[in-house]
């Protein structure tokens, strides 16, 4: 089977997954107590006001109809307008422009911010974890190996918000080196943006390093028992050369896989970190939207999350195939 047909098949399955995810999310949000009208009005909710908002937004229609309308729009790439915007138009007049626009325009800058945070984290975390992983394999069972294992496992086992607060305490409160508030916005210079993003990026680095580092170490150690490694050793190659030149290329597939998985996590799993650091990414938008039951935004966020997972996994598989000649050349 050629790579192209694999990609096509996987993309087809991806679309099916997205479809199922969208149904589950739609049902789940609808099952939560309260809806947009009630969340928006809060204590000021009178039955008439709630009914008026529901009628404006079409929330009084059957759930199947609402889902189908959404699906038809989404299939054409139109994620609609958020309830907040629709409600605003109903208040002020159809043609009023506001700060939201469509769901897509609301989502795009937030997604860009999250990707920026994920990239900064990846740039720090991937080299560090690969280096530690390789060194740990090289000096396995040494003090270095044990310290690396224990410390990375400790950081991955602590809840993210805890790691975040510890870092804030050490790097922002006791030693004011970095800002604890990562409120980036348009018009900031790259350097400023980077400085503000550093603490959440470090937090996420601590969270994802263990996984990647241990997979690198395990994959390499796994190969060290192979006959061809023994051959290399017998040739008199240095242990470093044996690992980096002979073992690592064959260990790439599982490493790439775990890196891609962690990249996906950096995009979809950053909700807590974004909230703690007040980082205006897609995770915070997602939380805010669930809070006010703004279903179109919630749906769009979930589609982005699911797509990121699907695409990065696909990418990992393709990279794994490309890195392995036995898989690259079809039988």
């Amino acid at each position: 089977m050629g790579i192209l047909s694999i990609i096509i098949k996987r993309l087809g399955l991806g679309v099916l997954t997205l479809f199922l995810v969208s149904i589950i999310i739609f049902l789940a949000v609808n099952m939560l107590p309260g809806d947009f009208a009630q969340a928006l009005l809060g204590q000021a909710a009178t039955p008439e006001a709630v009914a008026a908002i529901r009628a404006d937004l079409g929330l009084d229609r059957p759930i199947a109809n609402r889902y189908f309308d959404w699906l038809v729009g989404a299939a054409r790439g139109d994620f609609g307008t958020s309830f907040a915007q629709a409600n605003f138009s109903a208040y002020v007049g159809e043609n009023s422009s506001s700060n939201y626009g469509s769901v897509a325009t609301q989502l795009a800058p937030r997604f860009a911010n999250t990707v920026f945070l994920a990239s900064v984290t990846a740039v720090i975390a991937i080299p560090i974890s690969l280096a530690i992983g390789i060194l740990a394999a090289l000096y396995r069972y040494s003090i270095f190996d044990r310290v690396a294992n224990v410390s990375t496992l400790t950081s991955i086992s602590s809840p993210e918000f805890f790691v975040a607060y510890i870092l804030i305490l050490v790097l922002a409160v006791l030693n004011p080196l970095l800002p604890s508030l990562s409120n980036i916005f348009d018009g900031m210079s790259f350097a400023e943006r980077l400085e503000k993003t550093l603490l959440p990026a470090l937090t996420l680095t601590l969270v994802v390093t263990a996984h990647m580092m241990r997979m690198t170490r395990a994959a390499i150690i796994n190969l060290l028992a192979s006959p061809y490694i023994e051959m290399a050793r017998l040739k008199g190659l240095s242990p470093f050369r044996v690992i980096v030149v002979h073992a690592l290329p064959n260990a790439l597939a599982p490493i790439i896989n775990v890196v891609a998985l962690n990249l996906a996590y950096l995009i979809t799993g950053v909700v807590v970190v974004e909230v703690v650091f007040v980082y205006p990414g897609i995770g915070q938008l997602f939380v805010d939207s669930v809070k006010i039951r703004d279903i179109p935004v919630v749906q769009a966020c979930c589609m982005v999350f699911a797509s990121a997972y699907i695409l990065l996994n696909l990418l990992a598989d393709i990279m794994a195939i490309l890195s392995n000649p036995r898989l690259r050349i079809p039988k």
Binding site: L32, P33, G34, D35, Q38, A39, L40, L41, G42, Q43, A44, A45, T46, A49, V50, A52, S82, F83, A84, N87, F88, Y91, V92, G93, N95, S96, S97, S98, N99, Y100, Q106, Y165, I168, A172, V173, L174, P176, P179, S180, L181, N183, F185, D186, V275, V276, F277, V278, P280, L285, D288, S289, K291, I292, D294, V297
Partner: protein
């Protein structure tokens, strides 16, 4: 923050402290202009807009009526009523016809000059048929609006209302430019001392000083105000502690000692009208029996709740909603005490030996409501009353539990005037009359007080109403909760800080300055 205190900083601080004590109040120094005020605020939503009809949480109140817009009148930090866009006002003796004289030379941020038309059209947003404004019940008494001249507006009310000038200070009733209200709401165009630079709902707002403001010298001293939405309490406190913001609202009670230890942070604590309540639906069994209500009033240990739920940041309540920030607050009424014997006495009178009740609570009602319910249950057990505390989800609480279940937890921020508060939550026929307590004397006094202009008579009326409410009413009000904010010591403010809303009645940007 450096934990070590060098001799130099110690000398500097004590010198500063000495200076302050000799000067009496920093407010005596003339306010300085300039600087960027950075606010870290809870209460922002991605659904926020500049439409003041929908403003309900602290963030938009601060940025709307507190920065960009103005109302006809405002409640000053000392509790007195002052004109904002209105210069003065007078009423006919029956308090039915009110004439407001508007300020001259006022301009909106887009250059349009302000006049009577703007007031009338902005008011229509709340008054007209089918208006979807949260302020609709407040101004529903307006029957007719007339433009007497460019700078004079006359309101005719359906019945007299002595508090009408207070009502138009409400943060919902901002004045928009007539003929372009939709545009003004989209962009945030008002007459306030700050104009919008950028607005990202639920994230960040930046406004800058509007140089053509008619009182640019005395209102709005900052060059810029930046409001950052920080929902997470710990993140907000961290931002304050590390000096990344100059002021925050809703300080977590537990962190107060930590914040007080920071020499750069001042805790702003005021007791206002905000109160936590347990309303009983008086039309339902067994709450229709006044003795059951009185038994429950004596079955709650109020001081314990203030100590344990508010950690002392509050005051005990007396089952009427009028607080220290109100003009006719009757502080000398007999305080209802925790008294198991009295509670048992009333239970016997009611003919109920063993009473079992469900109390519905939620963190959505007020922070600590669940624990408050447990405390209530414990103290009531000693009075022979079994309270079963049922925890409800915060989502949809106000729609599904409040005013639906016979007994639940709730809260009120309080209102600037007695009539406003009673009208909102105690007048029969109003949508938020949460206990549905019907008392003829109380309801007739309410109408009487509304159209009475004589201050002494009003005091008598409102004292009697508070007493009635306290003795027989359908709402248990165990505690007033303080407004707790924190601000940088670099900021200076007037001799008093308003206690009607958080952050100096949400007008910190208009009133404070960098010392």
């Amino acid at each position: 923050m450096n934990n070590r205190f060098s001799r130099r900083t110690l000398l500097q601080t004590s010198a500063a402290a000495g200076l302050l004590s000799t000067m009496g109040m920093p407010a005596l120094a003339a306010p300085k202009h300039g600087g960027r005020l950075r606010l870290g605020l809870a209460g922002a939503n991605t659904s926020d807009t500049w439409d003041s009809r929908t403003h309900s949480d602290n963030y938009m109140i601060n940025m709307g009526a507190g920065c960009v817009f103005e109302t006809l009148t405002e409640v000053a930090s000392d509790g007195s009523l002052k004109g904002e866009l209105a210069e003065s006002w007078e009423a006919t003796p029956d308090a039915k016809v009110w004439t407001f004289n508007l300020r001259k030379g006022v301009k909106f941020h887009n250059g349009k000059s302000f006049g009577a038309d703007d007031v009338i059209e902005s008011m229509k947003m709340h008054v007209e048929e089918g208006a979807k404004s949260a302020a609709k019940p407040i101004v529903s008494s307006v029957e007719e609006m007339k433009k007497l001249s460019d700078n004079q507006v006359q309101f005719t009310l359906k019945s007299g209302s002595a508090d009408f000038p207070y009502l138009v200070s409400d943060y919902h009733i901002c004045i928009f430019p007539a003929g372009m209200i939709a545009e003004a709401i989209s962009k945030g165009i008002g007459t306030g001392p700050y104009q919008v630079v950028s607005f990202e709902p639920g994230v960040r707002t930046l406004v800058k000083k509007y140089e053509d403001h008619y009182r640019a010298d005395t209102v709005g001293y900052f060059a810029e105000v930046e409001a950052i939405a920080i929902a997470d309490a710990s993140a907000r406190m961290n931002a304050m502690m590390t000096g990344q913001v100059d002021a925050v609202n809703r300080v977590d009670f537990k962190t107060v000692p930590l914040m007080k230890a920071n020499p750069n942070v001042e805790i702003i604590e005021v007791t206002g009208n905000m109160h936590n309540v347990f309303p009983m639906l008086c039309k339902m069994e067994p709450f229709n029996n006044v003795h059951v209500r009185q038994a429950l009033k004596h079955a709650v240990n109020r001081q314990e709740m203030v100590d344990k739920i508010l950690l002392g940041h509050g005051a005990i309540g007396n089952d009427h909603p009028i607080g220290p920030a109100n003009q006719y607050y009757a502080g000398n009424l007999p305080q209802i005490q925790y008294d198991p014997d009295k509670a048992k006495f009333h239970m016997n009178k009611a003919g109920m030996g063993n009473l079992k009740l469900d109390l519905h609570v939620s963190e959505g009602a007020f922070a600590g409501a669940t624990d408050a319910g447990q405390l209530y249950s414990n103290s009531a057990a000693k009075c022979g009353i079994t309270i079963n505390v049922i925890q409800e989800p915060a989502d949809g609480y106000w729609s599904n539990v409040w005013m639906k279940k016979p007994w639940c937890a709730s809260y009120w921020s309080g209102r600037a005037t007695e009539d406003w508060m009673f009208q909102t939550a105690y007048e029969s026929g109003q949508p938020w009359n949460e206990a549905g307590w019907e008392n003829e004397r109380f309801q007739s006094l309410l109408k009487q007080g509304r159209s009475e202009l004589d201050s002494a008579k009003r005091r008598d009326i409102y004292t009697e109403m508070q007493s009635l409410c306290s003795q027989e009413g359908g709402t248990i009000i165990p505690m007033y909760q303080n407004y707790l904010d924190a601000a940088s010591t670099k900021l200076a403010h007037g001799p008093k800080v308003g206690n009607l809303w958080m952050l100096d009645n949400s007008r910190i940007s208009k009133r404070w300055w960098f010392a």
